[in-house]
């Protein structure tokens, strides 16, 4: 996948807000417009889990008990933005990649290759013409 394609990048890590809870949180979720805003994250989280997120701010949301929940949530956001794919990257991998890169475009390219890349088969279908004819 080339960097010209729109990829939603999701950086996840262990849930650190509550030491008694094992699980994960999304540390950063962003596309070419920057971090996904708080209200979009909250709305989709509620829709998928029927509960209020324990933590939510721009680009940051949790708690997710299982990795599958993060995948499902990320894919839903990917569909909302019509991104070509979603790349799930652990915070450790993100840090390794960042420390290895010297230019922004190099970082973006590597985040797609190092992560678990899930393509969105519906990408491009939610454009202007599809909205017009559906």
């Amino acid at each position: 996948m080339s960097i010209n394609q729109s990829v939603l990048v999701v950086i996840y890590g262990p849930y650190i807000s509550d030491a008694d809870k094992n699980g994960h949180e999304i540390i950063s979720i962003f596309n070419d417009r920057g971090l996904v805003d708080e209200s979009t994250l909250e709305d989709y989280f509620k829709e998928l889990t029927s509960r209020t997120p324990e933590i939510v701010e721009s680009g940051h949301i949790g708690y997710f008990g299982q990795m599958e929940a993060i995948q499902k949530f990320s894919f839903r956001i990917c569909q909302k933005f019509g991104s070509d794919a979603v790349s799930l990257v652990s915070v450790e991998d993100y840090n390794d990649v960042l420390l290895d890169c010297y230019k922004s475009d190099e970082l973006l390219q590597k985040l797609q290759t190092v992560g678990n890349l899930i393509p969105n088969p519906d990408a491009g279908k939610s454009g202007f013409f599809s909205k017009l004819f559906n």
Partner: protein, 588 residues
């Protein structure tokens, strides 16, 4: 330069040499060009009498233990730089970092010392995108090896200054980012492994200290841990600050916080996609100023600083805020009658040692109100201590928080009130001792008390020109945003500040500056300049009524704007990146 070379640089995304050497706000990156070109470069800065030169530690030391000050590379010759600047009628002000610098590779650390990557509170490695699209990774300053090397470096730098007779002022520079959640945050803040190791040692030494003093350990509550983390951070910061102050004692002037536009972690994910937000930078610039930090556009590419952003930086930062900041300790201040930022309010808030869930001014909607209705005309003093002096601005309204109250603040607050200042006190968290003292003060001075109920009980008293308004902030916590704005508007409007309130449309920023009236303007108390800036990509309209005590004197710096004014009303239509300045004479 040949004409075709100019054309080439305009049509390719290559960074212009001037942008790299002069990254904005009269900063000069001496390591970015040959020393043989310094004179030509500095001569090209017409009308500039001060240049700000950050010291690049890594440029003077590869290893962290040997230093090059003109011994090998001519570009490390700071004495020559000062002499050339003087010959060009410019004064050099050196900025010595006390933590990571986002505009330098490795945050400015010599390569051999860049060992532990800095992490934010979420565990992400911290980096900044510079104006060339490079990723500058930052490394922890909590590593004891870094501190030792830093101490040696600033001592060597100080000795070099003494030996060469360099008399230029030196300021310690704390590089900061504007964050959505916490406002201005120093890049020194870190959550890396070495930070946690250091904090554990600090906790252990605290525990031993308590044991020796016979204090029984009660375990570590989240509140206590937060306080100790702040204490630890402050201690490390002060170690770096003291090292720079002592090492450069002959030239040292103070510490300055610099806020780097585009340097926030939220900005990072936009900037790696080249999606800069001018609206965000316009906001961050004004927020930085309200937090008494100098804004720097060193991370932003030159193309972003040509339009409205360039105007904001030039009019608000370079030719106003910075001038004021660096002359506040000198005699020049009294002589200069140039425009400086207008400040109506000085707000003293809770320090970072309070846990984030403690109710501060932000939770009461104060910042939102002051930004919206008073166009950033306030100074957020954070946890700074307030000391009343004879030259304290009596025209300002001072805000104090009960939780921060101690004997010294209480004394100074009452002194300010008795000397004619206007004070607003949130008595939430005020210790019973001070509650009693305040009541006794009212009784002893036979002050007339007015009480008004407006979501809370407002207790108001006056003494000459002085005014003291006391309320309980806890009563306002549950107000929705609209009601909180209404509350503040009703309260602040009783202070008769004589401001021209203009609420700009979303994305548009308004900034006010002020200067004293000159001999031809003696009918006016002062002259205020209103700058209207539209960094958004939409056409925006700003319309307002001129109050009876305001007279429009001048319309200037019109760019991409249609301006109309009648007897009482002004209307400006700003195209994307449009801006305009209006000078008003203010009658007393």
């Amino acid at each position: 330069m040949l004409a075709n070379e100019v054309n080439l640089s305009l049509t390719t995304p290559v960074l212009r040499d001037e942008d790299a050497v002069f990254p904005g706000e009269n900063w000069f990156f001496y390591w970015k060009t040959s020393a043989s070109l310094w004179k030509v470069k500095l001569e090209s800065l017409v009308g500039v009498n001060k240049i700000y030169v950050p010291i690049n530690w890594a440029f003077h030391s590869d290893t962290g233990d040997k230093y090059d000050f003109a011994s090998e590379r001519p570009e490390t010759d700071l004495k020559k730089l000062v002499d050339i600047a003087r010959a060009c009628a410019k004064e050099v002000i050196f900025l010595v970092p006390i933590g990571p610098c986002p505009f330098l590779a490795n945050g400015g650390l010599p390569a051999l010392l860049a060992r532990t990557p800095m992490l934010d509170e979420k565990g992400r490695a911290v980096a900044a995108v510079d104006q060339e699209g490079n990723l500058n990774k930052l490394y922890s300053f909590f590593d004891p090896r870094v501190y030792k090397a830093y101490d040696h470096f600033v001592k060597a730098l100080g000795e070099y200054f003494v030996k060469e007779g360099i008399a230029s002022d030196v300021w310690s520079m704390d590089c900061c980012q504007v964050t959505l959640e916490y406002g201005l945050v120093s890049y020194l803040k870190d959550h890396s492994q070495v930070y946690h190791q250091g904090f554990s040692r600090f906790l252990e030494s605290k525990r031993k200290e308590e044991e020796q003093n016979g204090v029984e350990s009660e375990g570590l509550s989240p509140e206590r841990e937060h306080q100790l983390e702040y204490e630890f951070y402050s201690m490390i910061r002060s170690i770096y600050l003291m090292a720079s102050e002592e090492g450069l004692s002959g030239n040292w002037e103070g510490v300055v916080q610099v806020s780097f536009l585009g340097g926030g972690q939220e900005d990072f994910f936009k900037r790696i996609h080249n999606s800069d937000s001018l609206v965000q930078y316009g906001h961050d610039l004004l927020e930085g100023m309200s937090l008494n930090a100098i804004s720097s556009s060193a991370l932003l590419p030159g193309r972003l600083k040509k339009g409205v952003m360039g105007k904001m930086l030039s009019q608000l930062v370079t030719n106003s805020f910075i001038e004021k900041y660096f002359t506040k300790n000198s005699f020049e201040d009294d002589l200069v009658s140039q425009f400086v930022p207008k400040v109506f309010f000085e707000v003293y808030d809770l320090g970072p040692e309070f846990t984030p869930d403690t109710i501060g001014w932000a939770d009461l909607g104060l910042w939102e109100y002051l930004q919206k209705y008073y166009s950033w005309c306030y100074s957020d003093m954070g946890q700074s201590s307030f000391r009343f002096k004879e030259d304290t601005h009596e025209d300002r309204v001072f805000f104090f928080h009960g939780l921060s109250m101690d004997q010294a603040l209480f004394h100074n607050m009452l002194k300010a009130f008795m000397s004619g200042s206007q004070v607003i006190l949130n008595r939430s968290g005020l210790a019973p001792e001070f509650q009693k003292k305040l009541e006794a003060f009212f009784l002893e001075n036979e002050l007339e008390i007015e009480k008004v109920k407006l979501h809370t009980t407002l207790v108001n008293t006056r003494l000459g020109d002085g005014r003291l308004l006391v309320f309980n902030g806890d009563d306002l916590v549950d107000l929705d945003d609209k009601k909180a704005l209404e509350f503040w508007h009703r309260v602040i409007s009783t202070f008769e500040l004589g401001h021209l309130i203009v609420i700009p449309p979303e994305g548009v920023q308004i900034a006010w500056k002020v200067r004293s009236s000159n001999t031809q303007e003696l009918q006016f108390e002062e002259v205020r300049r209103m700058g209207i800036y539209n960094p958004s990509s939409y056409k925006k309209k700003v319309k307002f009524v001129i109050p009876s005590h305001f007279r429009l004197l001048k319309v200037l710096d019109e760019d991409k704007v249609t301006f109309q004014h009648g007897q009482k009303e002004i209307e400006c239509e700003l195209l994307p990146e449009g801006s305009i300045s209006l000078d008003f004479g203010v009658l007393s």
